[in-house]
Symmetry: C2
Subunit: 386 residues, 2 copies
């Protein structure tokens, strides 16, 4: 195969909402297209760096794309379906990068590496989950993936919608579980919001709550103790995501599962969580996200690291409710995925061809990640590949 061009497009997120820490109105995402020729066919591999942080036009154009374009085709040959090997592309992109410092660059490389997975699946005319399962020797989910609706943001008065309305909308669409934000209001207000949501979902075991790392250690422990008797599905990112000592105190203090990992961007960061974070096999939830952590090669390595430490792969439920992570969850046979039905467009949510019923989401048969089937993304893909 031959790479003809690698393009990047910065796409602002639509659906301005806020969690306890940041306002997403300023956030954007890098859409990446790899234009290549494989066996005489011209194909475009499409990827992006998940959602909730920032586009990486600078890093992609300054460092990562030039290194891949400068590489000899043989140096990345040998991937699935005659395409480039995404693991080799990742290593070429990371040439001359120092260890440590897993931040923005992990997202830039993630977008690039994932575009090569889309390309490889398209070269085989198969959905990406099938390519992924075969490549990693995993048992894919053939009957769809468990999915929950992530939302439950803070609404300003006059928004014309309440938290209860939002949750009823999810249930009507076929979701059975949901996640809501906490930490942006007083404990009493958040407790009232939780009660309102549980009333709609029918059971506290269907509701997870997410503080987005907002609390100090003492606040996190106090809130966790207060939430623990409710029997929620999980409590997520109560404090600084790199505070492994706090995570160990939390898991030691509550019976409720503790979820974290969306802000761990490398295998070494995960190794520290596994070693120092007091995570409980079979209980806690791991939310690392390939698009934020150097792509699927490293993410699959993280899943192997989890299992080697005694955890089960169904404890992994990646951050980022979008088509790429749906195919990764399906292909690697993970615990489930999230969805952002109303926000983070054009990337959040699934394509109309992805069937949702009784809390399970089924990928379509479109080749690759099927991003072209998403009406909000299709015009951008047309533009970047034109």
């Amino acid at each position: 195969m031959r790479i003809m061009e690698i393009r990047e497009m910065r796409v602002p997120l639509r659906g301005a909402v806020a969690n306890a820490v940041v306002n997403f109105a300023e956030h954007d995402v890098s859409l990446v297209a790899v234009l290549a020729e494989i066996g005489g066919r011209r194909l475009a591999g499409i990827g992006f760096n998940s959602i909730g942080r920032f586009a990486q036009p600078g890093l992609l154009r300054e460092r990562f794309i030039p290194r891949v374009l400068a590489a000899e085709p043989e140096s990345f040959a040998g991937g699935p379906n005659g395409a480039a090997d995404p693991a080799k592309v990742r290593d070429i992109a990371m040439r001359n990068e120092k260890p440590g410092g897993h931040g923005d660059r992990a997202a830039a490389v993630g977008a690039l590496e994932l575009a090569f997975w889309d390309l490889a699946a398209k070269a085989g005319e198969e959905p990406a989950w099938a390519t992924i399962a075969r490549h990693f020797g995993t048992t894919p989910h053939e009957q769809g993936c468990a999915v929950y609706a992530a939302g439950g943001y803070y609404y300003a008065p006059g928004d014309g919608m309440s938290l209860g309305d939002e949750m009823r909308g999810y249930v009507d669409r076929g979701f059975r579980a949901a996640k809501m934000k906490i930490g942006g209001a007083s404990p009493a207000e958040d407790m009232a919001r939780i009660e309102e949501t549980v009333a709609v979902l029918g059971s506290p075991g269907q509701l997870a709550v997410d503080a987005n790392g907002r609390f100090t250690p003492d606040e996190a422990l106090a809130r966790a103790a207060e939430l623990d008797p409710l029997g929620l599905r999980w409590i997520e990112e109560m404090g600084d995501p790199l505070d492994y000592a706090l995570n160990a105190r939390l898991t030691g203090a509550v019976a409720t599962p503790v979820a974290t990992g969306e802000n761990l961007f490398s295998r070494q960061d995960l190794a520290n969580l596994l070693r120092f974070g007091g995570v409980r096999p079979g209980i806690d939830v791991f939310q690392m996200d390939a698009g934020l952590s150097y792509g699927l090669t490293d993410y699959a390595g993280m899943i192997a690291d989890l299992e080697a430490a005694g955890h089960a792969r169904d404890q992994a439920m990646p951050h980022g409710g979008h088509l790429i992570n749906l195919h990764i969850v399906a292909g690697l046979g993970l615990g489930g995925c999230e969805a952002y039905p109303n926000v983070f467009l054009p990337f959040g949510g699934y394509a109309p061809q992805c069937r949702l019923d009784e809390g399970r989401i089924h990928p379509s048969d479109a080749p690759g990640f099927g991003l072209e089937q998403k009406p909000e993304l299709a015009p951008l893909i047309d533009e970047i590949t034109a």
Copy 2:
């Protein structure tokens, strides 16, 4: 004060050398200039994001500079000498950034925040070390700072220079201590290189060795055990800089001081090293670098964190041998600094007005960091401020 403009210039490093992990020929640095009016005077604050990683034009222009320019002047008022408060500038720059992910953005913000320290010192017509000491209430080094020559890179045959030549050059210039690279050759070859260097320096206690995170845990432990009897000054970054468990095994296994920290870019990462890394009060060496870790505000916080954990501030010897870190070491009264006499130009090394004798380097009386006195930097500062 009023900010008129903030500019960024990408500057390639001269003096192409390689350590065990990366080739620096591709590395570059962001020079930042804050053009401001303070009390009717026009001043330019100059900063940069240390050396050894990459320039950050994308992140600075996409996120951090626009946020600071959009802020009301009152929001950052109250800094030293009537200038902006660098701590407030740092917080404004980080608005809407999520916790975790301390990588490239920490260097981008570092360059920006340090330019505001230069500006504040110039507003008071004093060297930056004086501004820093007064602001943080520290006892500055009035008689210069301990300095060692960092180098000892790998020379290809035909380079026209050997490691011994390099080290003799340092001694002739007034250095008494030095640091060299290991890990780019076999253990036997590295041992011969160490012997050659010790012979020039006169004592193993004057020589530190740096593996730049190259070794696997097993290799790191084996090499450390082999090096320990030599009585070296310290062994640096033997394995992955975020592998706190390995650091604890190393400090438990050797009497030689263990140095690390140049790839820890946040207070939370340092907190993990202090908690899990087995670091020894009074023995081990901390090398965090303000320019790579959000600037001096966070760096001074790290020094406070060190002391709160029982360590002494003279265990802190920042990575990055240049004028900015010389003023930080002098102002905060730290253990010492490094110098790169022959490489990393135009940023590495000190100005001719900085007197070096008997292993101590004395900052000049130039206002700010005195970057304008460095002949290699002066034309670039003229250009960015024109």
